[in-house]
Amino acid sequence: MNDISNKRKILVCCGTGCLASNSYEVYESLKEKLEINPNIIVQIEIKATGCNGLCEKGPVVKIHPDDISYFKVSAKDVDEIIEKTITNGEIINRLLYFDTNQKKKIINHMDASFYKHQRKIALRNIGEIDPLSIEDYLERDGYKALHKVLFEMEPMEVIDEVEKSGLKGRGGAGFPTGTKWRTCSKFEDYPKYVICNGDEGDPGAFMDRSIMEGDPNTIIEGMIICGYSINSNKGYLYIRDEYELARKNMEFAIDKARKLGYLGENIIGSGFDFDLEIVRGGGAFVCGESSALMASIEGNVGEPRAKYIRSVEKGLWNMPTVLNNVETWANIPPIILNGANWFNKIGTENNSGTKVFSLVGKVKNTGLVEIPMGTKLSELVFDIGCGIIKNRPFKAVQTGGPSGGCIPKEYMDVPLDFDSLSKMGSMMGSGGVIVMDDTTCMVEIARYYMEFLSEESCGKCTTCREGIKMMLNILTNITEGRGQLEDIHILESLGKTIMSASLCALGKTAPNPVLTTIQYFRNEYMDHIVNHKCSAGVCKNLTTYFIEEETCIGCGICKKNCPVNAITGSLKEIHVIDEDICIKCGNCFTACPKDSVKIGGAAYAY
């Protein structure tokens, strides 16, 4: 009884999102109950895996070879899963994922809208393997690329291959990886260093975390390959300190790889030495900037330096250094194994391969999505994300993290690649995509990001530190009803100065959210300043709620939902909101079944 039909593999997602929904309990309960269940005669393998991407619908349990995927599973579902699905092959309808685009329940998650448009390269193993098992990684072609490099390729051939693949750095700037390696390889100054930037800091982005947690060996393999090609024997992984599980899994994987001879001296008998060390990040957003990151590893204040001399020449401790982001490293082994031509065919010209996006905000499906470069933004939001929550009107998308830009719905067909996003005034950044609906105020969005950056700028140079502070002051004035027309001009003019005069990329991109919202949503700024109105109902000073007499049916739902009893009116009669009592929470606005509650402008002059 050992044929495939009698062998089952159960994969329980234990990524951070699912763990937060108690997926480990599900895993342990399954493990314990399967061991003692006398009815189980089939061979069962159960694994705790990394993140499956659709975190919102977690915990996710996948059963192979039946290809059944259950979502939102809790420990109390375990008995039923064992009894019905494992023992009798029955599907539990209740635990299936409902696809709102296809309007049906999906048995195999790969058929769901969220997954079927994806193409996984960097995330290829995540969700399929136990991150703590190097054997699982080896089973899925792990360390084969390293073997090929160490025994069949010269360092220059490795660099040629990476260069030909057209891979661009996935951390934000999109610098060609092969060019970086080649330049570094030319400097005859030793020791050289290889660094993995795992200081993911963009709010809402978690692809690097997911890779470190779910497939640590791919990063290790990518880094050793680079070490071999540039003649470096030492690498550092700078991991954001909040990412405890990522650090733990990386640490475990490094130890295991060392024990099996994939790290350390004379790697798998090749004569090449390379080892890795983990450095815990100090918790500053700016340390994701490469030169600040290196300063931090050296034990100095995490401030960027001017990069007129690039870090490939003088990087960590002034020695030649290659620094790449987590996702970039994860792309290296498949490129080496399958060849540059294979990688080149994916994506578009000049933007080869895939990119992982973290899709968040007012979209139905949120989570990690890996799609070929050049996929349209609309495809990401509507085909994969299944559209806007509650089908509200879609307004804009913010890409590239806090210093990215906002792209309005008119430009939804923009291809998601480095060049197209820059042309829009936004950027790829690390791949954060925040979807916004009509209840989002674009001026407030700009203000929010300036507030974030005012705290997270390193504060070293005047334009970034003081410039962001002034933009924040102006935007606060506008959102609180004290804006003046000249403010828009000052923001635009100051924004340009900050972009060209700041020391590092953080400052140079910081005005993006302000400049793009002015460019695409100037009418909202005007509405705030001239009409004293925030049509999204977000800026409290510029919002009043009133009930439209013509359409109110007097159902009393608004009254019931008002937390401060500001609404009066008898049943079946027109209701009225008392402005003086109203705290502008917006409960009545969202509760009214007839859309009779309307948003008006400011009640007072500020």
């Binding site: 705290e455 504060g459 070293k460 060209s500 005069a501």
Partner: protein, 248 residues
Amino acid sequence: MLIKINGKVYNGHDGETLMEVAKRNNINIPSLCYKKGFEGLGRCRLCLVEVNEGKRKKIVSACVYPIRENLEVITKTEDIIKMRKDIILLLLLRSPKNEYIQELAKEYKIVSPERYIQKENDDCILCGLCVTACEKLGTNAISMVNRGITKKVSTPYDDPSKDCIGCGACAEVCPTNAIKLDENNGIRTIWNRDFDLVKCSVCGKYYATEDSLNFIGDKLGSKEDHVCEYCKKKSLASKFKKSFQNIY
């Protein structure tokens, strides 16, 4: 190597920054955080210039930009002047009551919009010269702390520093006179700590803190006489005079 600044050719050495070449040739590039002898800090951003390296024009800060062969530099363009004005405006909003910043603003004809002037005045513009001076000449007693808009220069935990020797190098290099240094009855107060001052054995004036003299003595490996700079120069001058008298 030869580089061109504002159309004229100048000579520079490998490893030199643009600012160093400009200073040597009396070409004025404004800056608040550059001090001869220290490496460029790139913090104040006033020293922005336009460079052309054959490929394309870019804006760089002169104090940290290493010169390269055939570099062409323009120190003043319309864009650059606009940026400098914006930067001075930002500094003026930060330090509206500081006389040095006010002077600079006057030179560039900048009036800050009334609405944006901040109530709290901070004389420190975070140029970082004091931290560098303390690192190079003193004992690393002060450093940049915090980040973003709360960044400041301070001692560890804002407590009186055990490492500080009260040498005053930080106050000496400060371009906006932001570091408080008081001297009263033989006591110097700086960074919330009091230091005993030592009298010059010649003129009898207080001239340096005891801690800083000990620090220098330890570094030189010998104890020097307690003589102030002024008296040292005076005695040196008279020695010269004497030796000249012997010749003629």
